[in-house]
C-alpha cells in the first residue's frame, strides 16, 4: 500500500521510524524542537521523543557538528540539521578534517555514524548565501557519503539508509521540494546507496539528473517525446557512492548524454560524471558528453537574473535536440 505524502512528511517519518527503532539515534540543530525547523520538516518529533533526543542548539554550527562527530565516535547516532546548505562552509573542518578521516586515520578502529541533513537549490529569491548547491564540495572528500533525494519516496528511503550507515553521510534535500508529493509505501522500506534509479526509459539520449534536476529532466523528456526523441532519465540517488554501471549501460545504449546538476558547473558533479563517461564509454558515443549546471556566478537575488542561472526543462530539451540532430554548438 502507498499513499501520497510530501517530501517534508517523508523525512519526518523516516527520522521518527529510526528513532523508534534505535535509541542511539538523536536529532540536533537550530530550532528543530518546538519550531520543527523553519521549513517545519521536523514538527511533532519533540512531542514524541522529548528534548533529550530532539535538541535545540545555539547558532554554533561548528560546535554542534563537532559534537555530533564525537557523539558518533562514542556510540550515538546523531542526525544533525543544518538549516541551509550554505552554512556547510562553517562546518567544513568538523566534517572534512574530522568526520571524514577518523575511520581511515584510526586504521578502521573508530567509526562516525552520523547524518548531516541539509539542503540545496536556488530560485527561492534568497540570494547568494541561502541558495547554493554545495554537494560537490563534500563529495570531493573521501570518507563522506553524499545522497541527493529527488522525491518524497527517495528522501525517506535514502535517509533511513543513511541513519543505519556506519559512515558520515551528508544528505542534501531540495528546499523547493519540501511540499512536493509522491507515492510512498505505508510499510517500511530502505533505498540502498549506490543504486541509480532509471526514472524513465528511453533509447535516444540519456539525461543523468540529480535532486530537483530529475524533475527538470523529466519535463524535458516529456517535451522531447512529443517530437519523437526518447530520453532516458537516470537519477544516481547518491553521488558517493556512484552507480557508474547504470549510467554507463544507459549511455552505451543511447550514445548521447547530458549530465544535469544544480551545483556550479565548473569543477563539480557534472564534470565528474561526464569525465567517467568519456573515460569508460567513449567509443559508444555519437556526440560529445554534454553537461548543464548552475551558472558560474554567485546566485543573484533579482528574479530577472536568478532564473537565468539554473538549468530549465526548455534548456535541457534544446540541448538534447542539438545532440540528437548532430548540431553540437560547443564541441571543438
Amino acid at each position: 500500500m502507498t499513499r501520497e505524502i510530501t517530501l517534508s512528511k517523508a523525512v519526518n517519518e523516516g527520522i521518527a521510524e529510526e528513532m523508534r527503532r534505535d535509541p542511539a539515534v538523536f536529532l540536533m540543530g537550530e530550532d528543530v524542537a518546538e519550531a520543527g525547523t523553519p521549513f517545519k520538516v521536523l514538527s511533532g518529533l519533540v512531542e514524541e521523543f522529548g528534548t533529550e533526543r530532539v535538541i535545540d542548539t545555539p547558532i554554533s554550527e561548528p560546535g554542534f557538528v563537532g559534537m555530533a562527530v564525537g557523539a558518533a565516535m562514542t556510540g550515538s547516532r546523531p542526525i544533525v540539521d543544518l538549516m541551509f546548505g550554505d552554512f556547510i562552509f562553517l562546518v567544513m573542518d568538523q566534517l572534512c578534517n574530522q568526520a571524514a578521516k577518523t575511520h581511515y586515520m584510526s586504521g578502521g578502529k573508530l567509526t562516525v555514524p552520523m547524518v548531516l541533513r541539509t539542503n540545496l537549490g536556488a530560485t527561492r529569491r534568497s540570494a547568494a548565501q541561502h541558495s547554493q548547491s554545495l554537494h560537490a564540495l563534500v563529495a570531493h572528500i573521501p570518507g563522506l557519503k553524499v545522497a541527493l533525494p529527488s522525491s518524497a519516496y527517495e528522501a525517506k528511503g535514502l535517509l533511513k539508509t543513511a541513519i543505519r550507515d556506519d559512515n558520515p553521510v551528508v544528505i542534501f534535500e531540495d528546499k523547493l521540494m519540501y511540499q512536493d508529493k509522491a507515492q510512498v509505501p505505508e510499510e517500511e522500506y530502505l533505498i540502498p546507496f549506490g543504486e541509480a534509479n532509471v526514472v524513465r526509459p528511453g533509447r535516444d539520449i540519456t539525461l543523468v539528473a540529480t535532486s530537483s534536476m530529475v524533475q527538470v529532466c523529466t519535463k524535458a523528456a516529456d517535451a522531447l517525446a512529443k517530437e519523437g526523441i526518447e530520453a532516458e532519465v537516470i537519477d544516481p540517488r547518491t553521488i558517493v557512492p556512484l552507480d557508474e554501471a547504470t549510467i554507463l549501460d544507459s549511455v552505451r545504449k543511447t550514445s548521447r548524454v547530458i549530465v544535469v546538476d544544480e551545483g556550479h558547473q565548473s569543477f563539480g558533479v557534472t564534470a565528474e560524471i561526464a569525465a567517467r563517461i568519456a573515460e569508460k564509454a567513449f567509443y559508444y558515443l555519437d556526440a560529445p558528453v554534454a553537461r548543464m549546471g548552475a551558472m558560474d556566478v554567485p546566485v543573484p537575488f533579482s528574479p530577472a537574473l536568478e532564473d537565468l542561472t539554473v538549468p530549465t526543462p526548455e534548456g535541457v530539451a534544446a540541448r538534447a535536440r542539438q545532440l540528437c540532430r548532430g548540431e553540437v554548438a560547443d564541441a571543438a
Binding site: E30, D31, E34, I59, A127, M295, V297, F301, L305, L308
Partner: protein, 332 residues
C-alpha cells in the same frame, strides 16, 4: 530618557530617522503581504533607537556592518529610500543592482559594508575594517551590529581577542531582542553575554536600546575614545523586534506571548516615547510630530511606487561583478 546633550536639530533628525525606519519597514511588510516582493525579509521595527542612536554618533566614513535584519542600519547610516526599495524588489537601480536584495543591502557611500545572511558573518569584517583604520591611521571607527543569537558564533570570540590585543577601534553592538528565530535567547545563551566580552578585558556596557538618547550619548563617548585608540568596546542593547522573525512568521504564539508583544509596543516604543519627551521638553509640538510622520510616510510611498515601476537589471548583468576588473566573467 537618557541625557539631553544634543541640540534641537540633532533631536529632530534622530526622531525623523526613527520614523523613516518604521515607515520603510511598514511598506516593506506591505510589499511582502501583497506578494510584490521576492523572497522574505526581516523587519527592524521596534529596534529603531539602536540603529539611530548609534549611527547618529558616526560620520559617513565610519564603517558599519549589518545583519539579516538590516534595513534599519542602512537607513540610519544615510541611505535613500528609492535605492533601498529598488534593491528589495530586485531592480537595477537598487544599491546592489538587485544582486543582493534585503539580506545583502550595502551602501558604500555612507560606510555601510553590508547586511549579512550568515549570522555572525560580519564580525570578522567589522574588526578588519577597524584594523585598516588602525594600520592606516585614518581615525575611523567600525561598528559591528549583530543579534543576541549571533553571540553563539565562535568567530566573535576569536575577533574580540584580537581586537582587544591590538586595541582596535571597533564597537561590538549586540542588539539583544530576546529571541533568535523562534527560540528565547535565555534558552541558548549560558551565563552573561556582557561578561563574555569583559573576559577579554573589553570595556562593556548595558544600555536600554529603546532609549535613543541613552544609546546616542554612550556611543558618542565610545566613538571619541575609539578615535583616541582606547577601543574596542562592547554594548549590550536591550531591545525588541515587533514582527516575527521574518515577514512570513505570523502565527508565533507558540514561542512568544501576545501580551509580551503588546507590552513592549504600548509602553516601550522608542519613537512614541522619544516623541513624548520632545513635547515635554517643548522642543516640538504634537502637530509638528504629526507633520514629520506625514512627510516621511509620503516619501516612503513615493519611493515604493518608483521602485515598482523601475526596470529589472538586463540579463547581461548576470555575469558582471563576479571578479573585480573582469567586465563579464563568462564571456570569452
Amino acid at each position: 530618557m537618557g541625557q539631553a546633550k544634543a541640540n534641537t536639530e540633532d533631536y529632530l533628525r534622530m526622531y525623523t530617522q526613527m520614523v523613516r525606519i518604521r515607515a520603510f519597514e511598514d511598506n516593506a511588510n506591505q510589499l511582502y503581504l501583497s506578494a510584490k516582493m521576492p523572497g522574505l525579509t526581516h523587519m527592524y521595527s521596534g529596534q529603531e533607537a539602536v540603529a539611530v542612536g548609534i549611527c547618529e554618533a558616526l560620520e559617513d566614513d565610519d564603517r558599519i556592518t549589518s545583519t539579516h535584519r538590516g534595513h534599519g542600519h542602512c537607513v540610519a547610516k544615510g541611505a535613500e529610500f528609492k535605492q533601498m526599495f529598488c534593491e528589495l524588489l530586485g531592480k537595477a537601480e537598487g544599491y546592489c543592482r538587485g544582486k543582493g536584495g534585503s539580506m545583502h543591502i550595502a551602501d558604500q557611500d555612507h560606510g555601510n559594508l553590508g547586511a549579512n545572511a550568515i549570522v555572525g558573518g560580519s564580525m570578522g569584517i567589522a574588526t578588519g575594517a577597524a584594523l585598516t583604520a588602525k594600520l592606516q591611521g585614518t581615525g575611523r571607527v567600525a561598528v559591528c551590529f549583530f543579534g543576541d543569537g549571533a553571540t553563539a558564533q565562535g568567530l566573535w570570540y576569536e575577533v574580540m581577542n584580537m581586537a582587544a590585543l591590538w586595541k582596535l577601534p571597533v564597537i561590538y553592538a549586540c542588539e539583544n531582542n530576546g529571541y533568535s528565530e523562534y527560540t528565547k535567547t535565555e534558552e541558548i545563551a549560558a551565563g552573561s553575554i556582557t561578561a563574555r566580552a569583559e573576559a577579554f578585558g573589553i570595556e562593556s556596557f548595558e544600555v536600554d536600546g529603546q532609549d535613543v538618547l541613552a544609546v546616542n550619548d554612550l556611543t558618542q563617548k565610545l566613538v571619541a575614545r575609539c578615535r583616541k585608540g582606547e577601543g574596542p568596546f562592547f554594548m549590550n542593547l536591550k531591545t525588541y523586534r515587533y514582527h516575527g522573525h521574518h515577514v512570513g512568521d505570523i502565527n508565533r504564539d507558540y514561542y512568544r506571548a501576545k501580551d509580551e508583544e503588546a507590552e513592549w509596543k504600548t509602553l516601550r516604543d522608542p519613537i512614541v516615547n522619544f516623541g513624548k519627551w520632545l513635547e515635554e521638553q517643548r522642543i516640538v509640538t504634537a502637530d509638528e510630530l504629526v507633520g514629520i510622520n506625514d512627510t516621511v510616510r509620503k516619501e516612503a510611498e513615493e519611493a515604493v511606487a518608483y521602485a515598482e515601476k523601475a526596470a529589472y537589471p538586463d540579463a547581461s548583468e548576470v555575469d558582471m561583478h563576479v571578479y573585480a576588473g573582469v567586465p563579464h566573467a563568462l564571456s570569452a
